[in-house]
Symmetry: C2
Subunit: 561 residues, 2 copies
């Protein structure tokens, strides 16, 4: 064995138990959390050190060991301070160079065993863990997420989802015998014998296209899935959210360098809105795999590229179906939080609430439609006007366009139930903010509620009954896509019918959520995020197809005379 092989074997031995446990957890879909998410679980000095590193990085070049011939002055600006971050990133003037470097890095990485790749990628996750506090600030000041959400989403939760791809990847790659096996075919008077073995051949270069709202959480799974299956990867962040992904790539490149692999096995390829490089990379014949999170128009373009294998998360129209509840206040409070959290900028945030015109049963008592609606709008108002809570729930709005769209929602053809309220963040007076606008839209105005109104906008649709609401939610999910569905019913038969109907539209349902867990949240090792079975996207985190489309099984056989 070479010294590199010895090193990597030692590394694998040190992480093997975690990987095996992760594989088990994945198949059981039971609780599993590799990375503690509580801020208290980290050394006391980590929080302050992370903040210092963030502040020191502002207005400075971001160093990476990857090859480059230019510094790209990024367009990042904080939704909290309205100030540019002023960071520049290493880049190539000609994006073809990313492809050239990825091709040069490919052979060594392809030849590394699945176990070696898993070990190195675990090592990168451990390095990234040391950056979780800096990553939280970087995420907060590019996406507008609150600090706590930014910490959880880009840190432990994203790492859990990355680890999930390593566990499933290792399982898939070890699934068929790599070692020579003897195959025997009895022919009557004699046998035919062959030695056969099978190898998982990577597809080529992977391109992972980041989004501005969840740059790490949405991108890391594709990056790690490409890498565990042996493909070099080019990470193309959103021009307004480069910093968080630059930290992830830095951790990866440190691990590659430490074990003698080319840092270009995972490259950062930043660009600007003025000079985008995504289409060039996506159409490049050497790019075989594309992971994309973002809007429908570009997502449809990516899905339609000939000869590419794509994994997309686009937009959906998420529904809430109200049938009956045990406790109206608890349900409405949970839903109000769901639509307020990060100002409706989560792909899993509910948009359309289908509420029976005749009201619903709540704890056995009849509540009128108006009472239900009022309980909801009061709960939204309660969060928005609570000075201790508002800023810490709403965060900031990532882009001007999202804010404009939200404010325009009050002109939709319907009844304004709750306008956007005055709100501010005492720590960041310049923060771009808006509280949710709630409109009532009649069920015959499908053109209004059958598109995603990304941001803090809620549409209440009064329906004849639960059945009509379900039919609308199902049709929307089927035709426009849905990433989540929240439903409340105290009747197990009604729940079963909702689950069955939404499953036909490949949409997961969260029933009767109250307290401090929300339909918006999906957990690694437990939930399939985006089913891939309706127009909201064509892939799921992390089902087997998310892994095994990234390589090809090739068997060879040698005749034994």
């Amino acid at each position: 064995m070479t010294s590199l092989e010895v090193q990597v074997r030692e590394l694998f031995a040190s992480v093997e138990q975690t990987l095996r446990r992760a594989m088990e957890a994945l198949h059981a879909r039971a609780f599993f959390a590799h990375y503690p998410e509580s801020l208290k679980a980290y050394p006391e000095e980590a929080a302050a050190a992370g903040k210092e590193r963030f502040e020191a990085q502002l207005s400075q070049p971001f160093a990476l060991p990857q090859a480059s011939d230019a510094w790209l002055a990024a367009e990042e600006a904080s939704p909290y301070t309205a100030q540019p971050l002023g960071i520049s990133y290493p880049a190539f003037q000609d994006p073809q160079r990313y492809v050239d470097h990825a091709l040069a890095a490919a052979p060594a990485w392809r030849k590394a065993s699945p176990a070696a790749r898993a070990a190195l990628l675990m090592d990168a996750l451990e390095r990234l863990r040391g950056d979780f506090f800096e990553l939280a600030h970087a995420t907060m000041h590019t996406t507008g997420q609150t600090f706590v959400m930014a910490f959880q989403a880009s840190g432990p939760h994203a790492s859990d989802r990355a680890l999930e791809t390593l566990a499933l990847g290792l399982h898939e790659l070890e699934r068929f015998p790599a070692q020579q096996i003897e195959w025997v075919k009895p022919m009557g008077k004699f046998d035919i014998r062959m030695e056969k073995h099978f190898r998982a051949v990577p597809r080529g270069i992977g391109l992972c296209i980041g989004v501005s709202t969840f740059p790490v959480w949405n991108t890391l799974p594709g990056v790690f899935a490409d890498l565990i299956t042996g493909n070099p990867v080019i990470v193309k962040p959103h021009p307004r959210a480069i910093y968080p992904l630059a930290l992830a790539v830095r951790a990866l490149q440190a691990s590659f360098a430490a074990y003698g692999f080319d840092p270009a096995t995972a490259q950062l390829a930043p660009d600007t809105a003025a000079a985008p490089i995504t289409t060039f990379l996506a159409q490049h014949p050497e790019v075989k795999l594309i992971d994309f999170t973002g809007g429908n128009v570009y997502g449809d373009f990516i899905e339609g590229l000939p000869g590419k294998i794509t994994f997309t998360e686009k937009s959906g129209v998420n529904s809430v179906i109200l049938d009956s509840v045990s406790d109206l206040g608890a349900a409405m409070s949970n839903l109000a939080f769901s639509v307020s959290m990060y100002s409706g900028q989560m792909c899993t945030c509910p948009q359309n609430f289908f509420i029976p015109r005749g009201g619903i049963l709540a704890g056995g008592e009849h509540k009128s439609y108006e009472e239900v609606v009022q309980a909801f709008t009061e709960a939204v108002k309660g969060i928005a006007t609570n000075p201790k809570m508002a800023a810490g729930v709403l965060g900031a709005i990532q882009s001007e366009a999202t804010l404009d769209r939200a404010l325009q929602a009050r002109h939709l053809p319907g009844r304004l139930l709750l306008d956007s309220l005055e709100v501010s963040n005492p720590d960041f007076p310049q923060a771009r903010m808006a509280t949710p606008i709630v409109m009532e839209i009649q069920p015959d105005q499908q053109e209004v509620f059958s598109r995603e109104l990304f941001g803090p906008v809620v549409l209440i649709v009064p329906v004849e009954d639960t059945k009509q609401g379900l039919a609308l939610a199902q049709a929307l999910a089927r035709e426009k896509g849905a990433i989540s569905c929240s439903a409340y019913s105290t009747d197990p038969e009604v729940r079963a019918s909702i689950e069955e109907a939404m499953a036909e539209s490949a949409t997961s349902v969260s029933f009767n959520f109250t307290g401090s867990f929300w339909v918006n949240q999906n957990a690694g090792f437990s939930d399939f995020h985006v089913s891939g079975g309706n127009p909201s996207g064509n892939a799921s985190l992390t089902d087997p197809a998310f892994i095994n489309r990234r390589f090809t099984w090739v068997g060879s056989r040698t005749f034994i005379p």
Copy 2:
């Protein structure tokens, strides 16, 4: 339980051991043969009875329990007798009706458990087994295959591949917990608890498009993969090879009917070249899955259809790389058989032979290029001129177009090494036949040898050395696709380099084949047929992606207060 559930459970109990063994065999990729392929393994009277049933079917309507409103007079004609078969098949005048019936059949089939589906589909395979002799005649007289090949390919081998999809399907569908599991997230002072469960939701209607040369072997895996994963299927046979697939559909419909499912769960949708319905069905929004075997032009069209999940096998350019052999005669005899078998109409048949100009080592002795070429052409001639062997190896040529193309090959820009020889089949004087034409083409004439010349055509390309031959084979596989590669070398290092280089083009290599097993043959439970990693097709029989792209995992979760 209803009586249907009781019946299906009993059926499952009776086949479960076979299915579990099949699952094990699949993962071990060890030898496994569920269906004995020797003609002697069937009851003595089966052969005669099958022939009688075939003869009685000629010029008659083919009865199926599926709904229909017309009889389609098929264009089938025997490549052996040049006579039309004269069979008509039940059909709909408006192909939309197939979609309507598939949609009507879908809910019951979707709701059937994976185990129930597996049991019913095993039952259908058992029924089809009773038709193997009729199926062999039906295949022979539509495709031109010899009787023995027709029996093996459409009978036991196709059934093995179908069984393989059931085994892998059951494994994939049972992979995550369907039953409710309790998920717990510790929150410090309290826990959040949920019940979660996961269901595999079928995609929609599957369309399986048959080919004229291997109508059953190439189509049955997609049909069974669609069905085990809960999708109703429309089988659209090639207009010239309907009868074999009609037998397969009849077996399926008998099983559906026996257990109370709609026969339209699997429908036959025959058409004619004059009034094709394939494009209508393929573009139909309710058709979500398409399996296709056939030419590149239509295959590329299928792959490019927006919003469809496709599984294609198109064409490839298969290479032979000669480096060194133990026994020249044994190697050349094996290769001559490979190119003669079914007159080169197998997708795995070698086309381009890369032979070093300076000759090769054979059993330690140097053999000149001319000696090697002569040994090969003599071996081809030996088969073609052996009256006891020729007809039984060559079979007949399926279409006039293939015969014309083959005969035109002698006008390619190169040296004619062996022309097509006079040959006849004593049992079928009208059989459409041609023995392989062997041409020498120089390595700089890539435009000549870089396309598939389907049929009995072999191109010998003299190369500088093994390295040049390998480079050409690798580039061809990468750019034009390849489904097989045959290589001969006595040097393990050379074999390793060939295997590595061809794996990069996602092409399986068969080394040093001699005796009675040929590169053309792929075995269920052992080989991945078509890797899906080069332009010859985008899917593989049967890797996990062949199964798990046909359904979506959808999880639901219910809050436990």
